[in-house]
Amino acid sequence: MRRVRRLVPLQRLRELSLVLILIIVIVIFGNQIDNYYTPRTFNRISSTVALITLVAVGQTLVLLTRNVDLSVGSMVGFTAYYLGRHLSKTEDMSPMVLAAMAMGIGGAMGLINGLLVAYGRIPAIVVTLGTMAIYRGALVRYSDSKSVATRELPPWIKDLPQETLYKFGEYELRALPGIALGAVIIFFFILLYSSFGRRLYAIGSSPEAAHLAGIHAPRMVTLAFTLCGALSGLGGMVYLARFGTITVEAGRGLELQVVAAAVVGGVSITGGSGTVLGAMLGAILIGTLEQSLIRMQINEFWKDAVMGLCIIVAVSVDRILINQLTPWWSRTELQRMPEEPHAEV
């Protein structure tokens, strides 16, 4: 048991418990809904999850530093519209260039957030509440309140959601979830193995200690916001590919789903702990709930209420579980070695 405790960090345990909750949810829906276990359901859910996951990864970076980015929905909407408008004018554009453009636009908006928070010393919730409205306003102004229609877009982007990367039996991993999964894997490793990633945890865990350890927090925070913006920009491209029709309302309300996904996935709202793997699991749970409740054709109001309830239950269960387990799991005592210390400093 001691060995298991040593080798399995608490965070993994938390993620395992989320997988368990997810399975329970899926079994419940499978009993309630006919033809639930079909590739159709899987694809529907996975494309919703793709968008939430992608942005939730960025949100996780920001949350880790004890900040929050509420402008992600507006950044997704703005980028989606801008890319759509651009594509309707220029037919021949490679997907890679478009993705780079998406991340560039989003990254620039994220950079503004980051600079205001880190160097302007304005609380993140205020800054991003402001830029949430500003970026949305910029979208309305730029679009002149007109929409991008699906028929204006080149075929390749419309077909992107049907693109299959990998097939296992009847189930297929399509392009959009593939992009999200790629982002999760990349940032999983960045957070675990790069010193940038570790310093994000340090800053959120104890800003004071980070300062004394000589960590330049403003630079890290700015970078986190910029990456969050870039991922939201990429989210804008995913949004465009998935829906085709982009109105000024695109991406509105996404920020709440994204923050919910991260928090359900065990990312601490007070910074310092959580992983993108958890955020992804949170996104899967939220995406599954949303799409399944739509399938059950419940009234819109009840759908939101049930989702809200599920989120609260998931987080409370996780809290209770973790609080019970923590002292027992990460029990560590200071053991003095029997002999006198021999320091060779």
Partner: protein, 508 residues
């Protein structure tokens, strides 16, 4: 001490607002020495540490490392020069594991974390210290001694040359202190210069090679430990100019207002016993962290005591909230008046009537401003609050006048017992005297006053009796004629000078 100095601090000064935190102080550290720095609260020790670790920059003076002037603009630079500090409250990252905590400042050098190597290196560093810790465990919830070990390991991993230890033993058990000292001796052998700050005299005499004393931001003395006696060190620490301080006039000692028996709230304080009479000022002396404020908070119901009895006006009471305490006629004037004492943007008048605002309502429940104004005017005259208008926001007043507003506000509730926490901190000399005169007047009117103060001359001038606390324990109560700066300081740091300190009765 033939070696060249490792670190020299020359004529360093630092001013914060009107207070001179450091006034041209010098200190020299040699390799392989443990240098103790003594001084009471506000002597400038913390400021010096912050300058040495690059958190504050000195206004003037210079710092030399091995003869070369260095400038320290942030803690990263200090670390690069091999200067590290360990604080009384260790600053670990709770969400990172122990290995990461140890090597957090190394990460700049390699952009990638090699976990296997990190764990092995961390184990190696801890082995040097003669301790075994699970380096994969999160630092959250580690006992304080273990956190401190992590901090020391961190310093060692950075090839520390100058190690500052700020009261490292304050929260350690005797066994842990022994371990720490073994470690300090090893570091000394390895040529590290250690600046050791502690209020425990016995520890200083056990470990230190030389002793420097600061007082009020100034250098007082420096001598090899063999030439220093506890008496001399204490005299140097407290030898403060008394100056023109207002001395409380004798007042008739009335009935017992408050009687406290075996009051405890672990780990803050334990077994506190005293009686407080009407018309009496009981001074509560001790160093910062001795638990004085915690006793006040317990009496006032903010953080109630776990054990013991409080008798108030002859009846046993259990106080669980400040509201209850106020209704019983107790008043607590906190140390931080800007944070806890006043609503800064509100007018002076509204601040004064705030706790008793119920009495100012008319039949429709609306506050009657003319009545408020009358009360405020009364106190303005009585306490000579200097303000151009009663509707001036409290935040715009000077410190002394703010303190008078706080006092007015509570006096207006007609209290029987007044608890003052550092009543004159940050107030200029003139206003200080007025506050002292006011305390005197209130005592003459029969109020019972409990006054917490770190300002020894103030304690001596204003108190009828002085209760001294040290690390949560009551060290004794001194009558006015017994109390001197030396006896009180000796009790506060747990050293007896001449008169043996009477220990608080039979504590377990």
């Amino acid at each position: 001490m033939t070696a060249d100095p490792l670190l020299e601090i020359r004529n360093v000064s630092k001013q914060f607002g009107a207070t001179k935190a450091l006034d041209s102080v010098s200190l020299t550290l040699y390799p392989g020495e443990v240098h103790a720095l003594l001084g009471e609260n506000g002597a400038g020790k913390s400021t010096l540490i912050k300058i040495m670790t690059g958190i504050h920059q000195p206004d003037s003076g210079e710092i030399l490392l091995q003869g070369h002037p260095i400038s320290l603009h942030n803690s990263a630079q200090a670390q690069k020069h091999g200067i590290a500090a360990i604080y009384q409250e260790p600053l670990v990252f709770p969400d990172l594991n122990i290995a990461e905590n140890i090597f957090i400042s190394h990460q700049r050098r390699n952009p990638l974390v090699r976990w296997g190597k990190l764990y092995r290196d961390a184990e190696k560093v801890l082995a040097q210290l003669g301790v075994a810790l699970d380096v994969r465990a999160l630092a959250r919830g580690l006992p304080l001694a273990a956190q401190q070990t992590v901090e020391i390991a961190k310093a060692i991993s950075m090839d520390v040359r100058v190690l500052i230890m700020d009261e490292p033993t304050a929260s350690l058990s005797i066994h842990e202190v022994k371990q720490l000292f073994a470690l300090v001796r090893n570091l000394r052998k390895a040529g590290v210069a250690i600046l050791f700050i502690s209020h425990r005299m016995d520890e200083v005499f056990e470990i230190a090679d030389r002793v420097t004393v600061f007082r009020d931001g100034q250098f007082v003395s420096m001598a090899p430990v063999a030439e220093v006696t506890p008496e001399r060190a204490i005299r140097d620490m407290v030898g403060r100019e008394i100056g023109d301080i207002f001395v409380k006039e004798p007042s008739p000692r009335g009935d017992v207002i408050l009687s406290v028996k075996a009051l405890s709230r672990e780990p803050r304080f334990r077994n506190i016993n005293f009686e407080l009479h009407a018309g009496e000022v009981l001074g509560l002396a001790g160093l910062v962290g001795a638990g004085r404020t915690d006793v006040a908070l317990a009496l006032f119901g903010i953080a109630p005591a776990h054990h013991g009895h409080i008798e108030y006006l002859g009846k046993e009471v259990h106080i669980h909230s400040p509201k209850q305490a106020t209704q019983m006629g107790m008043v607590y004037v906190p140390e931080d008046r800007r944070q806890h004492g006043l609503v800064l943007p509100m007018s002076l008048m509204a601040n004064i009537s705030l706790p008793s605002v119920k009495n100012y309502r008319n039949q429709f429940g609306m506050v009657q401003h003319h009545k408020e104004a009358a009360t405020a005017e009364h106190y303005r005259q009585q306490l000579s609050i200097r303000t151009s208008s009663l509707s001036m926001p409290a935040g715009k007043l000077s410190g002394g006048n703010q303190q008078k507003v706080v006092l007015s506000k509570w006096l207006n509730t007609k209290p029987r017992l007044l608890i003052l926490d550092e009543p004159t901190r940050g107030i200029d000399v003139g206003a200080k005297q007025e506050v002292h005169r006011l305390i005197n007047d209130l005592a003459q009117q029969g109020l019972a006053i409990l006054m917490i103060s770190s300002d020894l001359p103030e304690v001596l001038a204003m108190s009828d009796r002085v209760l001294v606390m040290r690390e949560g324990q009551q060290m004794g109560i001194f009558e006015r004629h017994e109390a001197t700066q030396e006896t009180i300081m000796a009790a506060a740091i747990g050293q007896s000078v001449e008169k043996p300190v009477e220990r608080a009765a039979e504590y377990a």
